[in-house]
């Protein structure tokens, strides 16, 4: 174990180097460009054995990854925002074919208007594609999560997206502890694909037409495989904790034991909110934080248990569903809590779109307002757009 300083992008590229995948096919896009740029240096310097495929678009990047994964390779790529949108079609194809490809992603808003800064609309727009999703709060976690995700993906045959917040994490230099190359290799083990298109002794048919008579059965089986991801994740995260000393639950609770209210959010904002909680605790206010780390599959029972104990919860969503009903985390959390025996009053704060800064005073305001909800015993405003001009 050694301590180094790295940005989120450098940390993810470093994890990819230690994983040493068979194939990386990628196309550059701000703010994720550095990940594959740094990785291509590792390739050029002979520090990895990877076949690096430079392609002409993200659609081609993920298509090449699908081919390499069908051939039995350990495969990774990287993208952000519009790049993920362009991959959208192939996301479903990779997942449907059970190809455990891992994407090192940087969350960036989707155009229009064009913008290169952070929000979660890119991955939230792909949450039905059949990929595991992990949202990281800092560079250390991004490094660790890529290694964990790769192992979970290969054990479950479900592909994975690990993401950081644009610039806030991707370009911020942080102190970071990394494993030795051999430790990473021992942890992930040798990849034993379930099938290979290059196995000429046992030819198979990949991606055939599948109509009314079998499509539904194939989808049902895929949904069943997906239901095993959380259990495998918990096991692998535990193994990783034993190796590294760092444990990452699917859902993280911070100072929630005796708390009356909590914020439920993801990414770098959760780390900022921890600072706020510490300050509030010093004032004797019983407030906590629940951090959503895994959003696909949904840790349903964990969310029910964690949020059920509060009187009120403010969800903070860094994207909107365009359903006139707030953000995706709010919408799905409401669904999860519907049949919970104990459930909190639940409000939504959509914030930080296009990288709009979220600072301590914004988060304090949310805690103040959610405390007010408890006092009144009712919600005045269900959905608030936080930090946008023209809004109360």
């Amino acid at each position: 174990m050694k301590t180094i300083a790295k940005t989120g992008n450098e940390a993810m590229a470093y994890a990819m180097k230690q994983i040493n995948p068979d194939v990386v096919a990628a196309y550059p896009i701000t703010p994720a460009t550095e990940i594959v740029q740094i990785f291509s240096n590792y390739v050029a310097d002979g520090e990895v054995d990877t076949e690096f495929v430079a392609v002409e678009s993200e659609h081609s990047a993920l298509s090449a990854c699908v081919g390499a994964s069908l051939a039995g390779g350990r495969v990774m790529t990287s993208t952000a925002s519009q790049g993920l949108a362009l991959m959208h079609e192939i996301l479903y194809i990779a997942a449907g074919n059970r190809l455990p490809i891992v994407i090192a992603l940087v969350n960036r808003s989707l155009s229009a208007p064009i913008n290169i800064h952070c929000d979660h609309s890119d991955t939230m727009g792909s949450r039905e594609a059949g990929w595991m999703q992990l949202y990281c709060a800092n560079s250390q976690e991004a490094y660790d999560s890529l290694i964990i995700a790769l192992k979970v993906a290969e054990q479950t045959a479900v592909p994975a997206i690990v993401s950081t917040d644009a610039f806030i994490i991707s370009h911020a230099m942080e102190r970071l502890e990394v494993l030795e190359d051999e430790e990473v290799q021992r942890f992930i083990g040798e990849y034993k694909p379930r099938f290979s298109a290059l196995d000429l002794e046992n030819p198979k048919t990949f991606g055939p037409l599948d109509l009314q008579d079998y499509f539904f059965e194939h989808k049902r089986a895929q949904i069943d495989d997906f239901s095993k991801v959380l259990g495998t994740y918990n096991k692998v995260a535990q193994e990783y904790a034993e190796l590294s000393g760092r444990y990452y639950p699917a859902l993280e609770e911070y100072k929630t034991d005796d708390a009356d209210v909590a914020i439920f959010t993801a990414g770098s904002t959760a780390d900022t909110a921890k600072e706020v909680v510490d300050g509030l605790r010093e004032q004797g206010r019983k407030m906590g934080l629940v951090r959503m780390r895994m959003w696909r599959p949904l840790p349903v029972e964990e969310i029910k248990a964690a949020l059920g104990k509060f009187k009120a919860v403010a969800v903070m969503d860094r994207s909107d569903t365009m359903a006139d009903f707030g953000g995706p985390v709010f919408l799905e959390t409401r669904g999860i809590l519907y049949d919970a025996k104990k459930k909190p009053l639940l409000t939504d704060y959509v914030y930080g779109l296009g990288g709009r800064n979220i600072d301590i005073s914004d988060i304090l305001r949310v805690y103040d307002e959610i405390e007010q909800v408890v006092k009144q015993g009712k919600i005045d405003k269900l959905i608030t757009y936080l930090g946008v001009r023209g809004e109360e």
Partner: protein
């Protein structure tokens, strides 16, 4: 694992992913069953130019020793291309409606 095709499989029996555990399985699926028009070949009129053989999109024209020998109705979809391409002087293929 070899896949069974004698009855429809349920979702728990399928191999992971939408792969088929063997190659060239399309040979076992007769795709001619949705034909509504049937090409009828007249061996007497045929001049064995093989235009039909080269244009048939389903490789349903059977040929032996450079001579046309007939139409494989297991795969012929009844598109009528063979009848159109057959030289007018020969006119060896007629399209007729399929009987119910």
């Amino acid at each position: 694992m070899s896949m069974k095709f004698d009855r429809p499989m349920n979702w728990k029996e399928l191999p992971a992913g939408c792969l088929i555990d063997e190659a060239a399985t399309s040979l076992r699926f007769k795709t001619g069953d949705w034909r509504s028009m049937r090409p009828i070949w007249d061996a007497e009129k045929c001049i064995h130019c093989l235009f039909c053989w080269i244009t048939c999109p389903d490789t349903a024209i059977t040929v032996q020793d450079g001579k046309m020998t007939g139409i494989d109705y297991d795969y012929c979809k009844g598109c009528g291309i063979c009848a159109v391409i057959c030289p007018p002087k020969a006119s060896a293929i007629d399209m007729v409606r399929e009987e119910k």
